[in-house]
């Protein structure tokens, strides 16, 4: 589904650099979830955002949901090789019934 657009699709950064991943929806989001996935593994939950303007942080990762609840960003400060993986945003939307959708992912590589 392309109802949830992620950018960039892939990212290569030098260790220590900051980076941002964006997730945009054409519909109002009732819940926005960030996950990390390593190849061949399931999704590891990072953070959930619900309220417009909400911001959450965990270690060096910060996620924000904009006021209109249609866009979220994930920011990693001072990236490390352990941050490498695929970052997926998932969302709960509704068009009559609840619908769960995911973006296509952002592949992050951190060079030591």
């Amino acid at each position: 589904s392309q109802e949830l657009e992620q950018s960039p699709q892939s990212l290569i950064v030098q260790e220590g650099k900051n980076l941002t991943i964006n997730c945009t929806s054409s519909k109002t989001l009732y819940g926005l979830y960030w996950y990390k996935q390593k190849y061949g593994e399931g999704l590891i939950f990072l953070m959930m955002l619900q309220k417009g303007g909400e911001e959450k942080s965990h270690e060096k990762i910060t996620a924000k949901l904009d006021e209109k609840k249609q866009q979220s960003s994930l920011h990693i400060t001072a990236s490390q090789p352990s941050h490498a993986g695929i970052y997926l945003c998932g969302a709960l939307t509704t068009s009559g019934t609840y619908k769960y959708i995911f973006g296509t992912g952002t592949r992050l590589k951190v060079l030591a």
Binding site: L4, Y33, G40, G42, L43, Q50, T97, Y100
Partner: protein, 116 residues
């Protein structure tokens, strides 16, 4: 167990065979979801259970796909007469002790199905 478990982790099937994929959700979780993830793509919703009731099966790609959760705990996704396009990772997720749709979904490691 503490998390969602799935079995088998890997499955190779010949085209035309039937397969059954199992999901053990987090104990006490009311909601259970199945997703299909093709290589390089995000998960695509297949079906959703609340307890033993299958409330949404709109994502099942064909009538060859069937899911059940007879006692409201363990779930099985069955694919009949597998085709090559069924090759994907099948992810199971569970959430919520209350059925709140906004509750976070916790995912299992997935079953990688390869159809030859």
């Amino acid at each position: 167990g503490a998390g969602v478990s799935q079995s088998p982790r890997y499955k190779v099937a010949k085209r035309g065979q039937d397969v059954a994929l199992r999901c053990d959700p987090i104990s006490g979780h009311v909601s259970l979801f199945w997703y299909q993830q093709a290589l390089g793509q995000g998960p695509e919703f297949l079906t959703y259970f609340q307890n033993e009731a299958q409330l949404d099966k709109s994502g099942l790609p064909s009538d060859r796909f069937f899911a059940e959760r007879p006692e409201g705990s363990v779930s099985t996704l069955k694919i009949q007469r597998t085709q090559q396009e069924d090759s994907a990772v099948y992810l199971c997720a569970s959430s919520s002790r209350t059925g709140d749709p906004t509750d976070t979904q916790y995912f299992g490691p997935g079953t990688r199905l390869t159809v030859l």
